[in-house]
Symmetry: C2
Subunit: 107 residues, 2 copies
């Protein structure tokens, strides 16, 4: 089985709602957070802004139980399907992608 | 309407199949590729490995027509729903996330 390649830096991690398939958030993992995710079955990330390990939901209670996980073709991006205990976004929205952008008309 | 924040670097871009909702690939955009995506209605990225603008499908023919697009809560990640003319992955697979990882049992 392939394993993540940490040589290029952090793993980009796309978190999807296991029930709806909706993309909830994108976050980053270093080796330690990846190992903690595997060991605990919940998502752990590396906060780039705070420069610290981040157990998703530790403060809010909105933990994410990992149901399935895939590595991409060049081993630096993860896709995780999770059961989320609550909203994924710090704004209280279910998904971080609530701001729809306008596309040009008539294309 | 909010606009992307390029001050922190490239925009992480999650590309989803508009018909199935499946995550196809993750790539990056700089300001120019974002503007070309808006102007053409097809995905353009910034190739970090080749350090060049990359019109998805220019070589393979597997272009991606953008149907809907969202910006995340901190304006540095895009979610795009696309109609793909063919496989998204350079391996010929439909999605780059074909390598499923094993989770611990009994958690």
């Amino acid at each position: 089985m392939k394993t993540p390649d940490f040589s290029k830096g952090l793993l980009t991690s796309v978190v999807v709602d296991d029930q709806t398939g909706d993309v909830l958030m994108v976050a980053w993992m270093n080796r330690e957070s990846y190992q903690k995710t595997l060991a605990t079955g919940q998502t752990w990330f590396w906060s780039r802004s705070r420069q610290e390990l981040w157990h998703k939901g530790e403060t809010s209670g909105n933990t994410q139980e990992v149901k399935r996980m895939w590595l991409d073709c060049d081993q630096d991006t993860l896709l995780l399907r999770v059961k989320s205990a609550g909203p994924a976004c710090h704004t209280g929205k279910r998904s971080c992608f609530f701001e729809e952008l306008e596309l040009r008309k008539g294309k």
